[in-house]
């Protein structure tokens, strides 16, 4: 059997939505005898078919609706035919209940849009189509209903079908199927029509039973918004969530958005056991190693393709609040499991629901559709709605009443600076670093040749990158061969060498990077000079300490041997002094600490 089809039924009041569902339920034997008896009873009191059974009463559940004969709120109904399971959201027609229709459309794969054959395409029809499309519905079925009252007239049907085609095209929905039906009699709905020879092909219900809805590929990068941190005891910390995209297995590398922290999936915990893998749609609990810090609202992502983070967006929005949407007013925004403060910084335009034209608007009122710029009070992990439904949709909540006042989808992030006025905005090193979510610094490693500077520098850089930091490593090799190619080993050249390295490091820190410098830099005065180029605290003198005898014994490049034989001049430690740092910011005793521990020690000093 095909996967369950969730569809939303929309149309204006009295187009026959409730009747259509009632008819399908009846004909697929989904109505219990006692329910039918009650409907028959209700029909005599409230029915619109002159006392005959009014199938609409099967669906219209609320007392007010029955008395007024309209559908106020979206009703969900599950049913099953021999070929498929369905969940239908019967959505209200009145403009004032558009928000309820949006609720119904949000979980639908397909929309059945109803039009009364005698009335044709109305502004409501366009509105519903537009909302359905905005909420992600890609398939539309147009049901031209009450064809019995229109004498099954082919021209009437075709005129409506073509008018609707124009609407659908404007909205950008290409998958439209059209059916002339009578919900009352079931013709072309659940059975072939007696009265149309001109319409051939499957019935509307058959179409619903057989249509295939493309599912997002499981090969998308893994993303799981964290809903809940499960900490029953100090030995267990699990991250609970429903996988939004992709698959996951133990041993895979992940990164936590927005922090950028790296970790490995240790296990996928399920009821009384573990699993070897889990895929999108599954509710699971993950444990990570190391046990990094993760909170509700974070997203666990595949390590090599983490989720983008931003705090300014362009979004489509449908306004559902009684009070209009005001620019600059603070709301609460909920995107996947992440809740932050947010404000609309600009209404780009309101969308005219009937023709899709863009209108200038100072505010958005109840049921208006619009395109806005949105700012959140901190950067949040997200994906554009077109890439990922789950990670690109949000609601806005009023801070005073807690009402849900808006629903929207992210079109794309806006660059941080683009919304700020140029004249009062200086791009500083701090701003650049902030964009990279880090503090830019210079980590200056000094020590004898073969003391372990390069090993530690490389490990340190790897560690930083795993944690999502932006880095650069300056060492003898990459500088000597390019920038400092013109310098030799004279006293003056050595001073110049260090000066250039320190200046380059300063520029890179200003660019927002964490720069690791790995140079012997034997003289305290040179290191002190380098320090003067940075803000206090942005320069860390890190002493990689290994005794001369040990370095000389290691001598991986044979340099000590050469120097001792007099083939190398001015070699630090042999015929040129090394001045031990008096008060290094970090002292790495390589006699006592393994390289990994040295990295750990440096990392702790960065916090």
């Amino acid at each position: 059997m095909l996967p369950t089809l969730r569809f939303v039924l929309c149309g204006s009041v009295d187009d026959g939505k409730s009747t259509l569902i009632g008819r399908i339920l009846c004909d697929s034997r989904q109505v219990f005898t006692d329910q039918m008896e009650r409907v028959e009873d209700d029909s005599r009191r409230y029915g619109t078919q002159g006392g005959a059974t009014d199938l609409a009463l099967l669906m219209d559940g609320l007392q007010d609706e029955r008395q007024q004969g309209i559908t106020i709120d979206v009703a969900y109904r599950g049913f099953q035919t021999a070929r498929r399971r369905f969940i239908v959201a019967d959505a209200p027609g009145h403009e004032q209940y558009t928000r309820n229709m949006a609720t119904g459309a949000s979980t639908a794969d397909l929309a059945v849009v109803m039009v009364d054959a005698r009335k044709g395409v109305l502004p409501q029809t366009a509105r519903h189509t537009r909302i359905a499309a905005m909420f992600g519905v890609r398939h539309i079925v147009l049901a031209v209903n009450k064809m019995d009252l229109a004498g099954w007239d082919r021209d009437t049907f075709e005129a409506i079908a073509s008018a609707y085609g124009t609407v659908a095209e404007a909205v950008g929905v290409s998958n439209v199927r059209t059916f002339p039906v009578s919900a009352l009699t079931g013709e072309n709905l659940t059975r072939a029509a007696d009265s149309t020879s001109w319409h051939t092909g499957p019935t509307l219900l058959e179409h619903l039973e057989t249509i295939e809805i493309e599912q997002p590929a499981a090969s998308r990068p893994f993303r799981m918004p964290v809903q809940y941190v499960n900490r029953p005891n100090p030995d267990f910390r699990g991250y609970c969530g429903r996988i939004a995209a992709g698959t996951v297995s133990p041993g895979e590398h992940v990164r936590i958005s927005p922090a950028g922290t790296g970790a490995e999936v240790e296990s996928i915990v399920v009821w009384r056991g573990t699993r070897d893998s889990a895929t999108q749609g599954d509710s699971v609990t993950l444990t990570l190693k190391p046990d990094v810090d993760v909170s509700r609202g974070d997203v666990i992502c595949t390590a090599d393709n983490p989720l983008a983070v931003a705090d300014q967006f362009q979004a489509r929005i449908v306004w559902m609040g009684d009070e209009p949407l005001a620019v600059g007013r603070p709301y609460r925004l909920k995107l996947h499991t992440c809740e932050v403060g947010a404000a609309v910084t600009r209404i780009r335009h309101r969308v005219d629901v009937s023709d899709g034209s863009e209108l200038a608007a100072p505010q958005l009122g109840l049921n208006d559709l619009g395109v806005v710029n949105l700012a959140t009070n901190r950067p949040i992990p997200f994906a554009p709605f077109d890439e990922s439904r789950e990670l690109g949709r949000f609601i806005l909540i009023d801070r005073a009443t807690n009402a849900t006042v808006g629903a929207g989808t992210i079109t794309y992030p806006l660059m941080r600076a683009s919304n700020l006025k140029w004249q009062d905005f200086d791009i500083t090193g701090e701003k650049r670093a902030e964009l990279k979510r880090q503090r830019a610094r210079c980590l200056w490693l000094t020590g004898l040749s073969a003391s372990g500077k390069s090993t530690i520098a490389n490990l340190l850089e790897k560690r930083l990158v795993i944690e999502g930091r932006h880095t650069y490593l300056l060492d003898g090799d990459n500088v000597r061969h390019g920038l400092n190619r013109d310098l030799g080993f004279t006293e003056a050249d050595r001073v110049e060498n260090i000066r250039r390295i320190a200046e380059v490091a300063r520029l890179m820190v200003d660019a927002g990077l964490i720069v690791i410098v790995s140079f012997i830099s034997p003289f305290q005065s040179e290191r002190d000079f380098a320090r003067t180029l940075f803000q206090p605290g942005d320069f860390l003198e890190i002493f990689v300490d290994a005794p001369l005898e040990v370095c000389a014994r290691r001598d991986p490049k044979g340099l000590y041997a050469k120097a001792m034989r007099g083939e190398l001049r001015n070699f630090t430690g042999v015929d040129s002094p090394y001045e031990r740092p008096e008060t290094p910011d970090v002292h790495l005793d390589t006699q006592k600490l393994a390289p990994e521990d040295c990295v750990e020690l440096v990392m702790r000093n960065l916090e």
């Binding site: 996967p3 369950t4 219990f32 005898t33 006692d34 329910q35 099967l58 669906m59 219209d60 559940g61 609320l62 007392q63 007010d64 029955r66 106020i72 709120d73 009703a75 969900y76 109904r77 599950g78 399971r85 969940i87 928000r99 309820n100 949006a102 609720t103 949000s106 979980t107 909420f135 809903q227 809940y228 499960n230 029953p232 267990f236 699990g238 609970c240 429903r242 915990v269 399920v270 009821w271 009384r272 749609g281 599954d282 509710s283 609990t285 509700r296 559902m320 909920k334 499991t337 439904r389 789950e390 949709r393 949000f394 609601i395 909540i397 009443t401 807690n402 009402a403 849900t404 629903a407």
Partner: protein
């Protein structure tokens, strides 16, 4: 696990594991439960001992495994539940190791309000609706998990997954919050509370299939057995204890009956049948032509009864 309540297992072998549909319902329910717990200050689960409650409890335990259930169970005891229900309740609470809060409207009980002496809607109001309000107020619960399903009844089909109640536990169907996607708005003003329904999208058949797949224990009353019943107004009522006043000429007869839904024994009609295993119950349920609520006598009281009860704070 508590084998004495499990159905005979003989017909279990042929069944495949949970299909994609049940798995997705399960994942959705767990997502809803976690969302409620993540945002609640004082959560509670209404435990009515029936099959939906059993499924809900099972899902909640799954959601937080290996942690214990992060909320207590609340049972509103009218004192007229089937004895087997109470025994089952106490056994489950002990097995699961969860706090069980049992509340009875003592003033109502002291005033002698029973299903036999008072009209059923009045009895229900005092012993269930008022009792529930008392218990919720006493516990100051803000998120109340219930096992309601949209397919049960028409007004429920319109209710949100997270449904807002005012400080007097009333539901305003016209002022429901829009609830797009899975973005549940769980924010509350002081005094307000939420009814969270993780089983919203489940059907009765889904519940039964899931009970079978997961081997969830249920009250044996769901299986056909010989039980003493009397026939009143065309309904079979089980005589569960000697508090039931018999009418002249009435005497309990042993009949092979089972229950599709469980509540107060004087208000819950049995159906005749031989379904004494889970698979037979499922087969009968799928073939049924009456809705399960038909067995609940209170739902027939008056027009739009359930909606009115909800507006008044009944669930």
């Amino acid at each position: 696990m508590y084998d004495n309540t499990s159905p005979p297992q003989s017909d279990r072998r042929s069944r495949p594991g949970p299909g994609p549909w049940l798995s997705s319902l399960e994942s959705e329910a767990i997502e809803i439960i976690r969302e409620g717990i993540a945002t609640a200050a004082r959560p509670v689960m209404l435990y009515s001992i029936g099959k939906d409650s059993s499924v809900l409890l099972h899902l909640a335990r799954k959601a937080f495994w290996p942690a214990p259930l992060p909320m207590p169970l609340l049972h509103v005891d009218t004192t007229w539940k089937f004895r087997e229900m109470i025994a089952f309740r106490d056994r489950v609470a002990a097995e699961v190791g969860v706090e069980l809060i049992v509340h009875t409207n003592q003033e109502g009980a002291d005033a002698g309000i029973t299903p036999f002496t008072h009209p059923s809607d009045y009895y229900t109001d005092v012993m269930k609706t008022v009792a529930l309000r008392q218990a919720l107020d006493a516990g100051r619960y803000d998120t109340i998990f219930i096992g309601a399903r949209r397919d049960e009844e028409k007004s429920r089909a319109k209710e949100r997954v997270f449904s807002l109640r005012n400080a007097r536990h009333q539901w305003d169907p016209k002022a429901q919050r829009p609830e797009p996607w899975n973005l549940y708005n769980t924010r509350l003003q002081p005094g307000e509370s939420l009814r969270a329904s993780p089983l919203s999208n489940w059907s009765e058949a889904d519940i039964w299939r899931y009970i079978a797949d997961e081997e969830i224990p249920i009250v044996p009353l769901y299986y056909a057995a010989e039980r003493p019943v009397v026939e009143r107004d065309g309904q079979l009522i089980m005589v569960d204890d000697d508090r039931m006043p018999l009418l002249p000429g009435e005497s309990p007869q042993p009949r092979r009956v089972r229950f599709r839904t469980l509540g107060c024994y004087p208000l819950t009609a049995a159906i005749e049948g031989d379904a004494d295993t889970l698979d037979r119950v499922i087969a009968e349920t799928l073939a049924a032509d009456h809705s399960e609520r038909e067995g609940r006598l209170i739902d027939h009281d008056g027009e739009a009864s359930m909606e009115r009860k909800k507006r008044d704070g009944y669930f």
